[in-house]
Symmetry: C2
Subunit: 231 residues, 2 copies
Amino acid sequence: MKHTYEYPRAALTVDCVVFGFDSGQAELQVLLIRRGLAPFKDHWALPGGFVRVEETLDDAARRELEEETGLKDLFLEQLYTFGTVHRDPRERVVSVAYYALTKPADHTTAASTDAAEARWFPVTDIPPLAFDHAEIFATALARLRGKLTYQPVGFELLPPKFTLTQLQRLYESVLGTEIDKRNFRKKVLSYDLLIPLKEQHREGPHRPAQLFRFDPMKYERLKKKGFLFEI
Amino acid sequence: MKHTYEYPRAALTVDCVVFGFDSGQAELQVLLIRRGLAPFKDHWALPGGFVRVEETLDDAARRELEEETGLKDLFLEQLYTFGTVHRDPRERVVSVAYYALTKPADHTTAASTDAAEARWFPVTDIPPLAFDHAEIFATALARLRGKLTYQPVGFELLPPKFTLTQLQRLYESVLGTEIDKRNFRKKVLSYDLLIPLKEQHREGPHRPAQLFRFDPMKYERLKKKGFLFEI
DNA sequence: GAAGTATTGTGTATTATTCACACGAAGTCA
DNA sequence: TGACTTCGTGTGAATAATACACAATACTTC
């Protein structure tokens, strides 16, 4: 079936920058897929695709993400809309970019589910990307860095139960800085948003670490009172 | 001429939230136009219109702004893209929203140039808006508030020469708070981005005020060194 | 079971930053 | 010359940020 309009229209797509954090490697990762079709066939690219006319932008982003990578129910936020005229060599394509955060536990499902190859890359070492995806990726990383310091989004990148050291490694990895252990712990605990669990995390020949979980309800309550999370 | 596509496509528009600051009234204003056509005929709305297929999103925003309000060469930044399915009653329309800042000197030109009625409203008292423009406006105001505290964008809202009191009034108006005069002056001057002029601003039966101008070059240099402007 | 090893968990002193606060100076007008 | 209005300035107290070192706990090995 054909669809006809009075004036030419741009095609509308969504692209997603999916960040994952590997507590083992202590390095921030980004999920890329290998393109199966021209243009940029066999190049690495951000997962994404066309927006359907009867779905919202957010819905389109979630749908494409699940179709191409198998990931769902992750933290997703609109990033920026890229609309230079020739960013796609075929025709005018405007892309609404999103960034997403996912927990390590979900990582495994990602690569396996879809036919198209999907792989995690450390953000410090990504291959050349199709279209203007390198620019989108850079924008997303900058946004994540900014956001991490004044919103408690980091927990989206960790498993539900985590140690303070894991949380610190996450911050260090994303921000690219070293943080003093005592000052970091003092600060995050002062917000009273982390609930110590009865469990401990034990691995290796050393003292086990206290496990915590994040309390999102409490954060919502505080947020309404103008509370600001800053690290 | 008709244009035909395999799948239905959303129409793409830009909408602009234009902020202006009136040093006289010391209140933040927003520029609205009265719609001449259905839907929402005679309602107030944000200036905006359809994106042409051969222009970037930024270009479209600037073009529409000049066409509908006569304003040009102003600070313009992408805000967010609004893409719920039925935000326009006619068909699927996705709108890339921008916000713009303009100096009082440019205000007068605005209302006059175009045929469609354009008017400034204080942000605290705006009429009902067409489409989802109230939501767009709210998003823009929130963004401006956030931005003002960590980027020197406020100067875009003031004339080239301004007094520290005018600057303070601007911050107070946008942020909706009162600020201590001495602490405010100490802080903004500490960044060394304001150049005192030889001129003074005199009006009324009282001591005249020192005029300053903002040094954007210096800011650019500092920014590269990771400098952060915070108020 | 004692010694070695690796990581967790904790407190204090020093230094910056933020905040609260009041009055003389410089102009106009009557 | 006195009344009025806004401009312009400094200090002390409170709070937040920073730098920094060692004992506690588990596992492994001999």
